[in-house]
């Protein structure tokens, strides 16, 4: 003889009107939740400024924009060079510390070797019809990707806000990046 189930009294049973109101409330929260899901977001933090490491954030940003993602790329430290009008044209490939390079580290460390390996890489990029960094940046910008330049590192690196391409957002910091990451479906640190 169980006492677990109390007798349902008239007061415990919700009225038809109460149930209808509750259903409406739930339908509304469901609609809101579904709406938020419609807007796909991606947040990338770009910290590297070598020729090879400039590619992944830009390739993923432009591709995500093609998928309909709302994309933000937050550039900090050497990643700022990708957005820097002059420096972006001279991104270098480091020949030291990369065991996949065709030259041993002892040779790679010789002054001027970075220039040689960069030229080699640039030739490969041209021969292979791979998009240039500038092309990927322009395409991404056209597709609505937001490029942000971290204010603290702009000052740390001795850059000026005017050094960056038109369309780049300056005056942003870690809190802005964190907020973007919190809202995003995909977060990447490159």
């Amino acid at each position: 003889m169980s006492t677990d189930t109390p007798d349902a009294t008239a007061e415990d049973v919700p009225s038809r009107a109460e149930l209808a109101a509750r259903v409406e409330e739930l339908e509304q929260s469901l609609a809101e939740a579904t709406d938020e899901d419609d807007e796909k977001k991606m947040s990338i933090i770009a910290t590297k400024g070598t020729l090879d490491m400039a590619y992944p954030p830009l390739i993923l940003a432009s591709t995500a924009a093609a998928f309909g993602y709302d994309v933000t790329v937050f550039h900090t430290f050497w990643g700022l060079d990708i957005l820097h009008e002059e420096r972006s044209k001279n991104l270098k490939l480091s020949s030291v510390g990369n065991p996949n390079m065709p030259v041993p580290n002892a040779v790679a460390a010789i002054p001027g070797m970075d220039r040689v390996t960069t030229k080699m890489m640039e030739k490969k990029i041209a021969d292979n019809d791979t998009a240039t960094i500038e092309e990927l940046f322009e395409t991404s910008l056209d597709m609505g990707v937001e490029f942000q330049a971290c204010q603290m590192t702009i000052e740390l690196m001795g850059y000026d806000e005017d050094d960056f391409y038109d369309g780049v957002t300056t005056g942003v910091g870690a809190a802005t990046a964190l907020q973007d990451m919190a809202d995003a479906d995909i977060q990447l640190l490159v």
Binding site: S62, T63, A65, A66, F67, G68, D129, A131, L136, D142
Partner: protein, 81 residues
């Protein structure tokens, strides 16, 4: 070229490599109307998987067909909305 559907626009991305075939397909499809079909002609072998993946992950587009021959990859994408 298949005769089962009419092609509205052609996009030639021969020579271009990742991510350009997908990125340019997206831009070209934006200019089309509902139910119109874009033919994308590429030489990037990765475009077979990439355009398929892009079409499945993107609202408002449908991959109708893909053909491969003589190092050329043809993709037929319909705009559905």
């Amino acid at each position: 070229m298949s005769a089962e559907y009419d092609i509205t626009e052609q996009l030639d991305v021969k020579g271009a490599s990742c991510p350009m075939p997908v990125v340019k397909t997206k831009s070209a499809i934006d200019d089309l109307g509902k139910d119109e079909i874009l033919e994308v002609i590429a030489t990037d072998a990765g475009s077979m998987s990439d355009i398929d993946g892009w079409a499945s992950g993107t609202d408002g587009v449908e991959l109708v067909e893909q053909e491969e021959g003589d190092g050329v990859y043809r993709h037929y994408v319909r705009k559905t909305e």
